[in-house]
């Protein structure tokens, strides 16, 4: 009897932990939805901020986030896919190079996002941008300052491991028979990769891209000083423009705006938009990944 009671107690304690975590998740969702829903309408999504950010919408922040993640994906996905192909198809698992690349990818995945921001500032802006200025525009300040290109590239480095891991997982689910059949028919290795491996892992590439976009849309620390601005009266129309971003907007509005209480509805609604965006992207990615894993079994 004593043992049974103990079993029940321990089991319920662990069960309660699960419930607590789920409760927190649900309450974050619920509070964001309750706080943000009343203010979420078409005008909010399609208007510029007005009256010193206390009224109006978040249109430039949405567009800025979209452009930033698109440039980021253009930069990160090809590199991520090729690295994954190398790791899955070419690399000898025991070679030093393959091990080092794996370790580097894992390191990139755990380095704090603020370090990427510092790197973007030191490398892209302070080194590449400054040198580009002195080469092309005779020292006139154009690239040597925060802008959407540097922010996107910084974010691309941050999301590179996300792409690599997803794509490699997908490549590894392609049955060996298919590769062998292709090689047996006389195709070279590169032809096999192009015609068999890449088409077979297209859903993995898609998953990786979506996860990267969702991560990139939500991260704020890397763009704090590489290109995001508090307010911009126009949409970014060149790569050397600064931009507004949803996450940065939330941060600024909730901590540094002159009247935090008055803008609370805007803050909640912006958070809701960001949450809906990352959630719907994640949901698509998780479904795709689930299907890949099912196929692998």
């Amino acid at each position: 009897m004593n043992r049974n009671i103990k079993d029940t107690i321990v089991e319920s304690i662990t069960g309660i932990c699960v419930l607590v975590i789920i409760f927190i998740i649900v309450s974050i969702l619920a509070i964001t939805i309750i706080g943000g829903w009343p203010n979420l309408n078409w005008a909010f999504l399609s208007e510029f901020p007005k009256e010193g950010m206390t009224k109006g919408g978040i249109f430039p922040a949405i567009v800025g986030t979209a452009i930033m993640t698109i440039i980021m994906a253009i930069a990160a996905v090809p590199f991520g896919v090729i690295t994954a192909i190398y790791l899955a198809e070419y690399a000898n698992e025991k070679s030093v190079l393959a091990k080092t690349i794996r370790f580097a990818v894992k390191t990139l995945a755990v380095v704090p996002s603020i370090i990427f921001g510092l790197f973007g500032l030191g490398f892209f802006i302070g080194f590449i941008g400054k040198n580009m200025d002195s080469l092309f525009s005779g020292g006139e300040l154009r690239w040597g300052q925060p802008n959407i290109l540097w922010a996107s590239l910084t974010m691309a480095l941050l999301t590179l491991p996300v792409v690599i891991v997803s794509v490699e997982e997908a490549i590894r689910t392609i049955p060996r028979d298919m590769r062998e059949a292709s090689l047996a028919l006389g195709a070279t290795k590169w032809q096999t990769i192009r015609k068999v491996v890449i088409p077979g892992s297209i859903s993995g590439i898609l998953t990786g891209t979506i996860l990267a976009v969702s991560r990139g849309a939500g991260e704020v620390a890397p763009i704090l000083f590489t290109g995001a601005v508090y307010f911009s009266s126009h949409l970014p129309h060149s790569l050397s423009d600064q931009f507004m971003s949803l996450g940065y907007h939330i941060y600024i509005m909730s901590t540094q705006s002159s009247n935090v209480d008055a803008t609370q509805p805007i803050q909640f609604a912006t958070t809701l938009v960001l949450l809906l965006l990352t959630f719907s992207l994640n949901a698509v990615a998780v479904t795709l990944r689930y299907r890949i894993r099912k196929k692998a079994k």
Binding site: I21, I24, T83, V111, I115, L118, G122
Partner: protein, 363 residues
């Protein structure tokens, strides 16, 4: 040469490799080029890590170099960008033209690197002090609180999911908790700032609304999905035969979980906690929004703190390029980088190669 499938035994592997080398195909340029290009691109991730090392450290380095220059007494050059009090005589050109032109601040008689060990972090003042001690203490406090909150709850939740939950319920619990990993940290920070701070203050009744405790709990939330997922993986990786043997001997599921599975999974759980620690340590947005951002030395968990990463996030946008303050912030970044790099290396090599082999060799 094509990789030999794992399911073919080692003996066959050698013969296969020999066969492959016998019928060497004729040299194809496109194949050769593709392999070289792919290899070069794959090298990029190593290059990025090295570049991060170089560029973050490069900007931090001048602090140590400046000491030798500032040894000679130089006049003060008050920074204008802060809108601080500008006095005429403070703008006297320094003897050393290099220092003046590179806009290096020589405001105090203190060397920048000795002030790193002082007890005050006051970078924006006439006599700037860059004492890292309060920032270290703040980070330590927040990290400890976050870990004490996140580690037990996520490990216990993982035990429930792996051991006690029915398969159908497990299929629901896992994705829901992993949902938390999809929350951007700025959203968790916002939730902590708007909701948790008020709720926790009402419960515990402490003075400052934003403090190490609120920040720690919020950062714990960010670490929960990492610790939970990795622990769950470690628990389910234990061979089924262990569980069956234990249950067959008449042990209950609880006894099996705590006396058989948990000890066997300890290295994996450690690795999970270490990676969670890395996430907490480097978390910036939650720290910026929920910890109150006051750099003070106190042991009270309900006081406001300023963490290392939040300091970078809050101050970097306002500093002058190449300024001492700028260099100190990069120095903090270097420290953060070294620490997370080391944590990752420990989780990767020590736990995976040493500990796991030792404990789980019976597989």
């Amino acid at each position: 040469m094509y990789k030999v499938p794992g399911r073919i035994k080692n003996k066959n592997k050698e013969t296969l490799q020999q066969m492959a080398s016998f019928n060497k195909k004729k040299f194809r340029f496109s194949d050769w080029l593709a392999e070289k290009v792919i290899k070069a691109v794959a090298f990029l991730s190593i290059a990025v890590v090295i570049l991060i090392f170089i560029f973050v450290f490069r900007e931090a380095f001048p602090i140590f170099k400046m000491d030798s220059k500032s040894a000679a007494p130089t006049e003060t050059l008050v920074q204008e960008s802060y809108g601080g009090a500008e006095t005429e005589n403070s703008k006297v050109k320094t003897v050393d033209n290099k220092i003046a032109s590179s806009n290096k601040k020589q405001t105090s008689s203190d060397k920048p690197s000795t002030s790193l060990f002082s007890n005050t972090w006051m970078p924006v003042s006439d006599n700037p002090r860059y004492g890292l001690w309060p920032l270290f203490l703040g980070t330590l406090k927040v990290t400890l609180i976050a870990l004490l909150f996140a580690a037990p709850i996520s490990i216990l939740a993982a035990i429930y999911t792996a051991m006690f939950a029915k398969p159908r319920i497990r299929e629901i619990i896992k994705p829901v908790i992993e949902l938390l990993a999809g929350f951007p940290s700025v959203v968790i920070g916002f939730f902590a700032l708007m909701v948790m701070a008020t709720v926790l203050q009402n419960i515990f009744g402490y003075a400052s609304r934003l403090n190490a405790f609120v920040g720690g709990i919020a950062m714990g939330l960010a670490a929960i999905p990492i610790i939970y997922t990795l622990t769950e993986d470690a628990l389910t990786a234990i061979p089924k035969t262990f569980i069956e043997a234990s249950l067959g001997l008449g042990a209950s599921r609880r006894q099996t979980a705590f006396y058989v599975i948990l000890p066997a999974a300890v290295p994996g759980i450690f690795a999970a906690v270490v990676l969670g620690l890395g996430r907490i340590f480097g978390e910036t947005m939650i720290a910026l929004m929920a910890t109150g951002n006051a750099a003070m030395i106190s042991m009270n968990p309900f006081d406001s703190v300023r963490t290392l990463s939040a300091t970078i996030g809050a101050e970097m946008a306002e500093v002058v390029f190449g300024d001492t303050h700028y260099n100190v912030l990069f120095l903090i970044g270097s420290l953060l980088f070294i620490f997370t790099f080391a944590l990752n290396a420990v989780a990767e090599f020590y736990f995976k190669n040493v500990v796991i082999r030792k404990y789980q060799s019976k597989k």
